[in-house]
Symmetry: C2
Subunit: 356 residues, 2 copies
């Protein structure tokens, strides 16, 4: 996808260094950053320089490559794998990608190990691009159907950023949007601001602007009244972990939009590559919900009147804040799951039909 | 109620001037401002130096007093009344207070008119204080019941500010909380940040801090997961306009919390003085929903690292934003209405029993 007209991916390997777009600096600055060590990779995930379930999976895969470049001792590799998995608890892709690399490396000769790890990390990225493209082609059918009935701009609400910045390319929730746009279907996106980190404004609106897709940022509070007024034709969001029963763990606030969509008979879709499916946990109560630093709520960055990036404190000094990063949308509120293999019901049967 | 230990009301009349607390400066600065003309009063309502349905009603009443001080010509008074009503469209209290003063003045001798207007404006304030106190005593019973069952801290979620800063004293949604606190019931409040103007953080958390009541600010997205986890015992919010069928128009995002409360079997109460009831409109589709300037979303104020108040732009420069200020919570999601006359079902029958 494009930034200022130039094609980019969100992560790539070049001269023994992993290159990322530092997403904490968007939308005010576009900075490409080098990750040189596994510690750099862990830090990039922790501080959300990279974020989005598929992208942190890919970063963890490349993190193991960096670990091997530093020191191809098995115990260092194993410790690095554990630290990468621990860096953020909720998205399952982190564990998925690390396990995939570690399985590939098991029993491999040490002089081949780096090459194999690097190929597998690249393969994870290529596969994600292909999966996201297929998600787009599958989701496109839903948008086309709405457009054929409505014969007017299709208004799509999304929460957080499940865009190409959350993946390697295309995005999950945005991929059907990009595909519809390329087909000439008029699209308008309501981008939930997505407090506290404002990924909807900082990332989703930003990337849609760069691709020329009409969008409007709204407060997270606003989706309900827009749905009551008939100004939302469908919702599409991403997911950080999808249970085998179809329950969806995604950015905090997703659940509230699903409830409003349900109350107003508006289709609510979740787009995901199969790498976000957790086949093990059976009850969403056991999903570890990340609690992040409350400074992410009480402080915010932006441009001052001279165009300089400034951080300000917005809450009363005496106030406490609490920052849970995810919630769970029960399967019953999900109209369907848009995956690389097709669209299915958010249920054990639906997922089994596609993936087992 | 208290600020830095000193008793205040939110509005009072002194030496031919109306005094208000400039709420756009909170929580970073506490500034008392003089309103000297009806234009000052209109401007204070428009720019939200005063806000909250009961308080803007009182400000409009005093606005007419200021108009009479300026010029007691009937046509100026009538024009002022119209401008005051138009200054914000959604809260019904504005029209209610202006109509009440204008009815009182109808046919009154011009040498008595100022005195009568001033007395009626003061009476509107005194009545609001009494009504809010009664709301507190009535709502206290609900909190007491929860406490007697739970025997542990009662966790109450509120949205926006329906605190004493939104009224003359006590608040609507906060009045039961203040009364419970005075009775020694352990209380903790989850204060929804309430984007875009952050009244939950800037005002509700601020006033609870000043009164010594434990509270935690959360993003508007967070209420759902807290309810899923059993960390909310009840919700109480205010309202800007309550229809006679029990539908509640309140700060945008209220509806989403009501849906989540309903989905998790958590009681969702709305606290209101009868001045917010609109007996005329029968369908919430006809409530005028205010759309405010999108700068309120894209720009935000806070303290920089030197403690100076700064405004920064937080959205991508190319992005559009949209700022609807209210939504409607259908009566079926409201557990009960807490009024000055008692608690009733959110329905025509419920409201008629108390008020007709």
């Amino acid at each position: 996808m494009k930034i200022e007209g130039k094609e980019y991916r969100t992560i790539w390997f070049e001269n023994n260094v992993v290159k990322i777009i530092d997403q904490t600096k968007l939308p005010h600055k576009f900075i490409i950053k080098d990750l040189k060590t596994v510690k750099d990779a862990i830090n990039a995930i922790l501080t959300m320089e990279v974020r989005g379930a598929p992208l942190i999976g890919a970063t963890a895969a490349y993190g193991l490559v960096l670990a091997l470049i530093e020191n191809n001792d098995q115990s260092f590799l194993k410790k690095s794998a554990e630290s990468l998995i621990r860096s953020r608890p909720t998205a399952i892709n982190l564990k998925w990608a690390v396990d995939r690399i570690m399985n590939k490396l098991s029993g491999v000769n040490s002089n081949k190990i780096l090459e194999i790890a690097l190929n597998e990390a690249k393969e994870i990225c290529e596969e994600d691009v292909k999966f996201c493209e297929n998600i787009g082609l599958n989701g496109l059918k839903i948008i086309e159907k709405i457009y054929n009935e409505k014969k007017d701009t299709v208004n799509i609400l999304t929460h957080c950023n499940a865009g190409w910045l959350a993946t390697i390319n295309w995005g999950t929730a945005t991929s059907p949007i990009y595909h519809a746009y390329k087909k000439g279907i008029p699209i308008h996106v309501w981008a939930d601001e997505t407090r506290p980190r404002n990924q909807g404004a900082n990332l989703t609106s930003y990337e849609l602007n760069e691709e020329g897709i009409k969008n409007t940022i709204i407060a997270d509070n606003t989706g309900g009244i827009l749905m009551q007024r008939g100004e939302v034709d469908m919702c599409i969001v991403g997911t950080d972990r999808t249970l085998s029963n179809g329950d969806v763990c995604n950015k905090v606030g997703t659940y509230l939009k699903a409830l409003a969509a349900h109350d107003n008979n508006i289709p609510f879709y979740v787009a995901l590559p199969s790498s976000t499916i957790d086949w093990n946990i059976k009850d969403h109560k056991y999903i570890p919900i990340e609690e992040r630093n409350s400074d992410e709520l009480s402080h915010i960055e932006g441009l001052d009147d001279k165009g300089v990036v400034k951080k300000i404190q917005i809450y009363p000094k005496k106030s406490k804040a609490m920052n849970l990063a995810f919630d769970v949308t029960p399967a019953k509120y999900v109209t369907g799951l848009i995956t690389e293999k097709g669209i299915c019901e958010a249920s054990t049967e639906g997922l089994n039909k596609l993936f087992k």
